[in-house]
Symmetry: C2
Subunit: 431 residues, 2 copies
């Protein structure tokens, strides 16, 4: 007996969607065997019906009316690749109310308002799978949600944005400044015309919210994530880090603290011996520190049509299998409900580069400011003379608020001409 | 309403079992929240009732009669940490026939006779989970079985045995010979008194069979795996690899070929720029080449009580959730039923070090032997004079059988005093 086909509706047919359609067609038998039933595409909602498309996309399936496609209630599985809050949210809610399980790559929606989506899934007894929302083709969601369900995650350090990792890798390798490396990333298609979402850390922050929610069984939304981008990272700071045996990466950090959890995205210096330091170009990697399992790392391509399509198809197969068996997979787990603490409570180290006046007593004045905020200095290095005099200060760990207040006071010192760079230092305990 | 507790029976209580018991106790609330029901330990089968144990292990639960514990049919989940074929297999079969789902770390049993176990699970409608059987605490089974279910795996290159990786890392770092590095591994507890299972590649071969089965949806048993250990890896070969920009690793390789699949375990040279090259000491890592997702790597501690307990507890939570929901997870997938091809058909490259007579015409003779077997030479390096004359030959890719026949003929050449080392070269396409 051949089982009834599972009907798929696809919302959005750009690079990823086209790849999904192509593989649904070319690997039809294989996917049917893995699901336990054939997969049948019943509709594809697109913005522009007239746009030329890959031959794999059957024009008869196209519609520019996603609401009707979803509202018809014909689909067993709705795959959402539109992105953004609306109309994606409404479409997913309609789909679930009609009994469809959903597969989505929409990190913005899940980070901003995942609760609405997860609660609808629970209410209607359907699946919401979203492996493609974080780090493209790298399997992360199942490892965090299932494999590590018996463990306690202490900290996640993630390189989860390929554009910024490409830019920072190039700055590290060639000495280029930020603008030059960004231009190069654009010319290679690694950065969009408006690179704000990547460069300012919004994309990484959304992923951090999703990873933290899974790791800590707690609802974390985008507003809970402290976010700083990489536009302020100078060629000088990259070179100074290099000389000290560090590399600068944009990190998504989720960690347990004494009082709850902290979630933050910012550029940071990590030791070159850390496994994340070797993650270059547009690659992504997520380093997970667990109580029992120890240190794990998941590495691969974080973006691109084919890797993201791999994640989407993996979810389609999983959701499809659940349908064939007549059940659903594991839903949201937010039982721990930990408190999300502000950035000021994060325990970090700072590396501060100061342009200073070349006169006696400067170091004493600077050291006094650190001491006033109870921030202990690990090393100080003086270099240059005259107009080029600099102090590089590396601190011991301290609450971020104390470090930030120290830097604010340093800016007010007469002897300090400029605070050239301030970077947190991470990953040293992770070795 | 508090759900009925799920009853656990534990078979074996060594390092891993003790850690599992300790965590079931100390993290009782947390695990109950994740499962959706409390977990209750109803019995622990051990060999020696009189052995002193960790205070967490309640003596009242101990029995030296595992058959009765399992046969009583009281357990919802049976956790098997005994290892080996029997009595583990019979106990698991009894457990399943009584309706229990099973969690096992028994790679030998799954590699040798997984079919019997998987078929029983199917027959009785229960789960068999085994994350701990491969690479300890590194989540691998779910990524392969679920996350990548929508993709096509082309090749797996795995460092899946911590003992041999520690030995080879030390040889690479310190120039030590195999015996010295093995002695060091023993003194640190990384190698057992009888290191055969690790050093001869039996452990890695069992893991290769399991990984290959998952990746290729095909039944692969231990007998299908070509296996070579690392006892023959000399300090000279390690140094020569180092000079050429390579490092020697014991690899578990599973790959698609034109005619089916190949599964093999042997030492191999990989470029230092390959992500696996940086995996040192007792760490494990599995590098997966997929058609859509591209190159992925999973990295972490492959052994040890706590990491393995993390994997076991993750499986207990997953199986427990399935019980609470009244279903089972994804079972064996062997639909593809690909042909497992012999080692002779593997397409590889060889690096061959020859001790040769220091006279004219030797290179011509050697080159003639390679040509006779249609093996193309990429580079030859002559070094030393007199009794120390050597030829180092690196080939292009060729069928393993042709390379092996070439080496056999080289041994018969008068001008060749000894074939000092033969190593396959892997991972160069993987970059």
């Amino acid at each position: 007996m051949t089982p009834r086909p599972l009907r798929l509706a696809l919302l959005g047919c750009g690079t990823v969607g086209t790849e999904v359609v192509r593989q649904l067609k070319s690997r039809h038998e294989d996917l049917a065997a893995r699901v336990g039933a054939p997969l049948e595409l019943v509709g594809i909602a697109v913005r522009d019906l007239t746009r030329p498309r890959d031959p794999a996309v059957d024009p008869a399936l196209l519609t520019d009316d996603p609401s009707s496609l979803v509202g018809a209630g014909e689909a067993d599985i709705v795959v959402e690749l539109i992105g953004g809050l609306e109309p994606a949210r409404s479409l997913l809610l309609t789909a679930m109310s009609r009994g469809a399980s959903v597969v989505t790559a929409n990190k913005a929606l899940l980070a901003e308002d995942g609760v609405t989506i997860y609660e609808a899934a629970e209410k209607y007894g359907v699946d919401v799978y979203f492996e493609a929302a974080v780090a493209g083709g790298i399997p992360l969601i199942r490892p965090l949600r299932e494999s590590l369900a018996g463990d306690t995650v202490r900290r996640i350090l993630g390189i989860v944005n390929g554009t910024t990792n490409y830019i920072l890798s190039r700055m590290d390798e060639t000495g280029a400044d930020f603008a030059t490396a960004l231009a190069e990333a654009r010319s290679l298609g690694y950065a969009e015309a408006d690179p704000t979402a990547d460069v300012e850390g919004f994309d990484a922050a959304a992923k951090a919210a999703i990873l933290g929610s899974l790791a800590f069984h707690t609802r974390i939304s985008l507003g809970d994530v402290h976010r700083e981008g990489i536009a302020g990272v100078t060629a000088e700071a990259v070179a100074a880090a290099h000389d000290m045996g560090y590399v600068i990466k944009l990190l998504a950090i989720c960690e347990r603290t004494d009082r709850g959890i902290g979630v933050r995205v910012h550029p940071a210096m990590i030791p070159r011996s850390h496994p994340l330091a070797a993650v270059r170009d547009a690659y992504n990697a997520v380093f997970v520190e667990c109580e029992a399992a120890g240190h794990l790392m998941f590495y691969g391509r974080g973006a691109g049509g084919a890797p993201t399509a791999s994640a989407v198809l993996g979810d389609i197969v999983a959701v499809g299998r659940n349908r064939v068996r007549g059940g659903v997979g594991i839903g949201e787990s937010a039982y721990a409900d930990l408190d999300v603490r502000p950035i000021g409570e994060a325990i970090t180290r700072y590396h501060v580069n100061l342009d200073v006046a070349d006169r006696a007593g400067v170091l004493a004045q600077v050291a006094t400011v650190f001491a006033r905020h109870d921030v202990s200095i690990q090393t100080v290095r003086q270099s240059g003379r005259g107009d080029d005099a600099q102090l590089a200060v590396l601190t011991h760990t301290a609450p971020d608020a104390a470090l930030a207040a120290t830097v604010a006071d340093l800016r007010r010192l007469d002897a300090v001409r400029a605070v050239a760079s301030v970077l947190r230092v991470e990953g040293e305990e992770g070795l």
